[in-house]
């Protein structure tokens, strides 16, 4: 009996988070004011973090909040404020054939996902890190351990990737000194 109540509660929480997630995502792409879009996006990120918690991945949930909802959204808002988006605000939503075609395929893909979920044809493999194992070990420890042993090489390569990204951003935005004359 008690288990059933827990299940029901979990299901209700999931339903709430999922609906918030979907609603916020729709608001992100349908809103015309970029600042509002960004704020709705924060809500999407927070709701996604909630989904991670429900999947027993507290560490990823926290990282999601700190990195995405915190740092990255901050940057996006900065960029939005620095750019002049008045024109965008005043423009009307126009009907475009590309939009109609895109919408058609989006609906098609969504029906595909519904079909797959309802018939449960998608069966993946279960990895070695089950929720029980992760809970017993501790989230941060599990992530840290594989990151610095199994995935040491990709981890180091990622640092090069970040260097390339930073160098690229600097070189593209740097004021170029007058060279000739």
């Amino acid at each position: 009996m008690a288990e059933n109540v827990v299940m029901l509660f979990q299901w209700l929480v999931f339903l709430g988070i999922a609906l918030v997630c979907i609603f916020a995502s729709i608001m992100v792409i349908s809103n015309k004011n970029p600042v509002h879009c960004a704020l709705w996006m924060v809500l999407t990120f927070l709701a996604t973090a909630g989904l991670y918690v429900m999947l027993h991945s507290q560490f990823i949930a926290i990282v999601q909040v700190i990195v995405y909802a915190g740092a990255i959204m901050m940057l996006i808002l900065f960029v939005v404020m620095l750019l002049d988006l008045e024109v965008e605000l005043r423009s009307r939503l126009k009907f475009l054939y590309s939009k109609a075609i895109g919408g058609f395929f989006a609906v098609l893909l969504m029906l595909g996902i519904f079909y797959a979920v309802i018939t449960r044809v998608l069966k993946g493999n279960v990895g070695s890190f089950t929720p029980e194992k992760v809970s017993a070990m501790g989230n941060v420890k599990a992530v840290g351990k594989v990151l610095f042993t199994d995935y040491l090489f990709p981890f180091e390569v990622a640092s090069i990737l970040l260097v390339v990204g930073i160098v690229g951003a600097v070189i593209m935005s740097k004021r170029r000194e007058a060279r000739k004359e």
């Binding site: 797959a116 044809v121 998608l122 069966k123 993946g124 493999n125 279960v126 990895g127 351990k145 610095f148 042993t149 199994d150 995935y151 040491l152 090489f153 990709p154 390569v157 990622a158 090069i160 990737l161 260097v163 390339v164 990204g165 160098v167 690229g168 600097v170 070189i171 593209m172 170029r176 000194e177 060279r179």
Partner: protein, 486 residues
């Protein structure tokens, strides 16, 4: 609970380490010792780095050793591609010395980014897990996005970088989603373990999840190598980017894309070969045909070479469909010879320009053959090689590819390929006709040939001739490289 450190074997990743170290050194040299307008020395430092990495590539040949928990391997396939990438990087840096100064992009970051991109390509060829391949691809792509837009005073360069960046990021999304679906259905990202898992569970062959993943991977890689439904970006990006970077993109990025493509599809998803062959067949035919037919109408030589590079991706896909040993070896052979002839052609394009006057229209080539006989002769060799005229390298490459297709009994594919090759003769020869048989409408004067670029042309001519006249050595090397892959 202790942490077991993975076995670390630096000798296997020595070329990668050397390239990264030199890239960082060049980056710092450019910041601390800027010699405005005289930054050519950075190019020479990069060349030294590439040569050292090249020397360290050979000791790992034929070892077939895994390192870092199966994240990367030093096998013949990876080494062969590393050699291709290092040759491409060497030639690209060589043609940049002089050209980069002309278009005011000769700072340390330029050479450093070329080397970082090379590092990414090497990781794509040597990586044996989806994550290594993905990180290599991203390192390469981000460096190239920036390189394409370095000429910030030039609207076309900016357009090129922005287009490539937006579409490339989108394609990366497809690729990553595909990898995620494959990981989700097999529970591992190591290519060989994926293959083993699929073998142990035959019902996976009909799993929509993994087939969806394969489709998305095809789109992602297809974008990088510019196959036809995903080729729209190619002409604009190739036209707008600095010419040296266009040469780098057309050869290096394409070779790296195919390296990742072959590695993932043959070593992890080999069981799905019957499924993907039909799609690849269509892609190959569409890519060859559209590339060649549209190239005929081009008036700008950079755009023409862009469409020609699409067509060449189509020929390589023919060998990909064939899927046999000769086919895969011929891909390696073709990518090497393609690197020589394409970089050579772009070098001629660079040499015919000067500050503020790039002369990229095909009509600008009128009369060049008599005015600069050696340059004209080199360009003729590159064009004939791309068209597939014996005894040049391009002919042997196509010969091996089409014989692989015939051997695998894809007769129609071989026929369509040969017909396409015949179409391509028209637009390649047109450049030659302009060079020798047309009166120039206006004089091109005051060209200063950078010695480094001339060396690059000489190396390319040598490469095309050598691979055309003595192809068997290189083909044998390519065949040895792919043992264990199929």
């Amino acid at each position: 609970m202790g942490i077991t450190v993975p076995q670390i074997n630096f000798s296997i990743i020595a070329p990668e380490l050397i390239i990264s170290a030199f890239a960082l050194v060049v980056l710092l040299l450019g910041v601390f010792f800027p010699r405005t307008g005289k930054n050519d020395y950075l190019g020479y430092v990069s060349l030294v780095g590439i040569v050292v990495a090249f020397l360290y590539t050979f000791p790992i040949m034929g070892k077939s050793q895994y390192a870092f928990n199966n994240m990367i391997v030093a096998d013949g396939f990876g080494v062969f591609f590393k050699v291709i990438f290092l040759i491409i990087a060497f030639l690209t840096v060589l043609i940049s010395i002089g050209y980069a100064r002309r278009v005011d992009i000769d700072f340390g970051e330029y050479y450093a980014l070329i080397m970082f991109a090379t590092l990414g390509m090497m990781l794509m060829a040597a990586g044996t897990s989806l994550i290594t391949i993905f990180l290599g691809l991203e390192t390469m792509s981000i460096a190239i996005y920036v390189l394409a837009g370095l000429m910030r005073g030039d609207r076309k360069s900016i357009e090129s970088a922005l287009k490539y960046f937006l579409l490339g990021a989108f394609a990366t999304g497809f690729l990553l989603y595909g990898m995620a679906l494959i990981y989700g259905s097999t529970g591992t990202i190591i290519l060989e373990e994926i293959a083993a898992y699929i073998k142990s569970k035959p019902e996976l062959l009909r799993s929509p999840m993994i087939i969806m993943g394969i489709a998305l991977l095809t789109i992602g890689f297809g974008f990088k190598v510019a196959t036809v439904p995903f080729h729209m970006w190619t002409p604009d990006v190739y036209e707008g980017a600095p010419t040296s970077i266009t040469a780098f993109m057309a050869t290096g990025v394409k070779a790296a894309g195919f390296a990742g493509f072959i590695r993932v599809f043959f070593s992890a998803l080999g069981a799905f070969q019957p499924d993907w062959i039909a799609i690849m067949w269509l892609l190959a035919v569409a890519t060859m045909t559209v590339g060649n037919v549209v190239a005929i109408a081009q008036t700008n030589i950079k755009r023409m070479l862009a469409y020609s590079s699409i067509a060449h991706a189509g020929y390589i896909l023919v060998a990909f469909v064939a899927g046999n040993e000769l086919g895969t070896a011929s891909i390696l052979f073709y990518l090497l010879v393609y690197a020589f002839m394409n970089i050579g052609a772009f070098t001629v394009v660079i040499l015919l320009g000067k500050r503020g006057e790039e002369n990229v229209l095909i009509s600008d080539y009128a009369g060049i053959g008599f005015k600069y006989p050696l340059l004209g002769a080199s360009m003729t060799i590159f064009m004939l090689s791309m068209a597939g005229i014996p005894p040049l390298g391009g002919f042997m490459g196509k010969f091996y590819i089409f014989s692989a297709a015939v051997k695998a009994e894809y007769y129609w594919l071989a026929v369509i390929g040969v017909l396409n090759s015949a179409i391509s003769v028209y637009y390649y020869l047109r450049v030659t006709v302009f060079m020798y048989f047309r009166e120039p409408e206006r004089e091109i004067t005051g060209l200063t040939f950078s010695p480094a670029s001339v060396v690059a042309v000489i190396i390319s001519v040598w490469g095309v001739l050598y691979m055309g006249i003595f192809p068997s050595d290189i083909l044998a090397l390519a065949q040895r490289s792919i043992t264990g892959l199929l």
